[in-house]
């Protein structure tokens, strides 16, 4: 148990510090890298709780795919963040006030915390197949509606992205593999018998 406690506190500390650095870092690329670190250590926390399937999914989906695209976009941006942050201080009174109110709320809510009986079950209950099997079982039965709806949401997002970005430009040369492959020698090459000294 001691070793899991050490692991938990290490991971939790790194998570919080790197989450803070996501906001505090001056360089946006560093922000994204810290975000990735946060995802990664969060996955570690999932592992400690026995939710190994979720942990792996978090790494595969968020770290392996989503954050790569983030990084991609941020690296390509040419934004002067110092310029963007100018005038930042003038929002400090209002922002600070909202921040203080939020912190007060968190404290209030946190102090009222009572664990409901059925909010969460220990992953130990899932038995042999582990959380992957347990998740699969309820995802395709009890939550099949939610599962399919999420599919529709992603479908909408995909259509939306295409609508907003795809432009059929005129005058673009496109490769048509079928015609390329289907080309015959007779269409492409003409054999000419050139007489010496006459040219074509």
């Amino acid at each position: 148990m001691a070793i899991t406690a050490v692991a938990f506190y290490t991971l939790a500390t790194i998570t919080i510090v790197s989450a803070f650095l996501v906001i505090a870092a001056r360089n946006p690329v560093h922000s994204v890298l810290f975000l990735i670190l946060t995802f990664f250590t969060t996955a570690g926390l999932f592992v400690l709780m026995g939710a190994e399937f979720l942990a792996m999914l978090l790494v595969v989906v968020y770290v392996g795919a989503v954050a790569v695209l983030f990084l991609f976009v941020v690296m390509m941006l040419d934004i002067d963040f110092a310029e963007l942050k100018r005038g930042f201080l003038s929002y400090l009174p209002l922002g600070g006030l909202i921040g203080v109110i939020l912190v007060a709320q968190f404290l209030l809510v946190g102090s009222a915390w009572v664990s409901p009986e059925n909010a969460a079950r220990s992953p130990a209950e899932f038995g042999e197949g582990g959380t992957a099997e347990a998740l699969g079982r309820i995802l395709y039965t009890e939550y099949v509606l939610v599962f399919q709806l999420s599919g529709m949401v992603l479908f909408t997002a995909m259509i939306g992205a295409i609508v907003l970005t795809l432009r059929q430009r005129e005058g673009v040369k496109r490769q048509n593999v079928a015609t390329q492959v289907g080309r015959r020698r007779t269409e492409a090459v003409v054999l000419k018998d050139v007489k010496p000294g006459e040219g074509i």
Binding site: P116, A119, E142, V144, M152
Partner: protein, 485 residues
């Protein structure tokens, strides 16, 4: 452990949700069809989609169960209220598709993705209406919202449309964040996502639960553009393509209000004295902001945006009563207000001169002399919106005030009355411009779709139809009884 669902139960649930299933399948089919046909077939696909939406609407009403039935183990509710609401919003969606097909054909920007996105948005709204647990609710909202962002930015080469889409997206994402944060608090403090289970576990003295509730309400208030979460509405109403605006102003209000009513009455019905201040403040601020904001507008669409903010205020005022009477008044208000709004937008769409869309109030100058029919329709609609007695708008407001006073929320009712007086001023200003100002050049003739919509909406706002009010009220009363107090 959770109760397992068998394949038979899934099929039975899907049958209960026949309109949604139909729409989902049709959306996938349409995407494939559109990919093959391309934008040349956009017009035909629009007509097909409008037909499909009408079929789904009729199906929803015909196959509605007579009493409250739950599908998917309680994730979705189907009852006469949801069935009629779905029917109504699907009809509105069909109108949006058909009107857009006219408008887009005029400037040659018709694309097949438009009917597809409207179908998906309508599907999301149907889910919102039926949602009976937090997850389904969120997914419904998100499905609707994702389609809505794209619809708002649909004219991507138009800077105002892009601005509308971006603004809507950013602010809506924040509100989704609030909603999710609230939902997770509610789940954390009750251990339940199903509305019925939340109601069973809800403890009025639980601070965390109250915070969760407030966050959820803020998120929902954004979706129905209630003040102080209304900032997006004027820009989106102005920038988005006009048929899309009409769709936002009507269909999404049905979904939002019914969802709001369900959230307030079912999981948090026992917490009425906790949320009554929140809803009262939102309602009051909405009415004030909507009325005062509309006074200074010169653009008709922005004016309609502020008008819709104010009207949502009246609906929320009725809901604040927290009684069956309140829900009934809110539904009645909505049922009377929406056709009028739709007709208003059809009228605005029909305003064209020399191939340009007109949307400034000044452009209406002297409309009565050149186009007496249109001017009469507009006048009737505006009187109805202002709540002038013989017209239907009055009865909606009357019901809302009754419910509010019945619950003893006198201050709120006074604010509402003042707001009504202020709002009459700007409605009357338009009427004055139409009838008494010097006429400008003639408009282009409106197409049949727009003219029919305009006329139908006007007829629906006529005092003659007061006779219809009786049955409508009975129906609404029966439906509002479906909400557990």
């Amino acid at each position: 452990m959770n109760p397992e669902i068998s394949a038979e139960m899934v099929v039975a649930s899907l049958r209960l949700m026949a309109p949604e299933t139909f729409l989902a399948v049709y959306a996938l089919f349409l995407a494939v069809l559109g990919a093959f046909v391309g934008d040349r077939g956009a017009r035909a696909l629009s007509t097909l989609t409008a037909l499909v939406l009408v079929v789904a609407a009729v199906g929803s009403v015909i196959y509605a169960p007579l009493e409250r039935t739950e599908a998917f183990n309680g994730a979705i509710v189907v009852d006469p209220l949801t069935a009629w609401a779905k029917g109504g919003l699907l009809l509105l969606a069909a109108f949006a598709v058909q009107m857009a097909s006219v408008v887009f054909a005029r400037d040659g920007s018709a694309r097949f993705e438009y009917p597809l996105l409207v179908t998906l948005a309508a599907l999301g709204m149907c889910i919102m209406i039926g949602a009976n647990d937090l997850i389904t609710m969120y997914l419904g909202i998100e499905l609707n919202a994702l389609a809505a962002y794209v619809l708002a930015a649909f004219r991507r080469d138009d800077s105002r449309s892009s601005e509308a889409g971006l603004k809507y997206f950013v602010l809506s994402a924040i509100s989704s964040g609030l909603l999710l944060y609230g939902a997770s608090l509610v789940y954390g403090f009750t251990g339940a996502v199903r509305f019925a289970d939340i109601a069973a576990a809800a403890d009025p003295d639980n601070v965390g639960l109250i915070f969760g509730l407030v966050f959820v309400l803020c998120g929902l208030a954004f979706k129905i553009s209630a003040a102080p979460f209304h900032m997006w509405a004027p820009d989106v109403y102005e920038g988005a393509p006009a048929p899309v605006t009409a769709f936002f102003a009507t269909a999404s209000k049905i979904a939002g209000v019914i969802l709001m009513a369900r959230i307030l009455m079912e999981p948090f019905g026992d917490l009425h004295d906790r949320w009554v201040q929140v809803i009262s403040v939102i309602a009051g601020v909405s009415m004030i902001v909507g009325s005062l904001g509309a006074l200074v507008q010169t653009n008709l669409r922005r004016l309609m945006a502020y008008s819709s903010i104010a009207n949502i205020g009246y609906v929320l005022m009725a809901l604040a009563a927290g009684s069956q009477l309140g829900v009934q008044a809110a539904l009645l208000y909505l049922a009377l207000y929406l056709p009028v709004t739709l007709a208003m937008f059809a009228g605005i769409l029909a305003l064209r001169r020399q191939g340009e869309d007109l949307e400034r109030i000044g452009d209406l100058s002297g409309l009565a002399r050149n186009h007496p029919f249109m001017a009469t329709c507009f006048t009737m609609l505006l009187f109805s919106l202002a709540g002038v007695p013989p017209l239907v708008g009055f009865f909606g407001k009357l019901a809302a005030f009754q419910a509010t006073l019945d619950a003893g929320l006198v201050v709120l009712a006074i604010v509402g009355a003042l707001a009504t007086v202020v709002s009459a001023a700007y409605y009357l200003r338009i009427i004055k411009v139409m009838w008494f100002d010097e006429p400008v050049a003639r408009m282009e003739p409106a197409g049949p779709t727009l003219a029919v919509t305009l006329a139908a909406g006007t007829v629906l706002s006529f005092p003659v139809l007061v006779v219809l009010l009786g049955p409508l009220e009975t129906a609404v009363r029966a439906m509002s009884a479906l909400y557990g107090p």
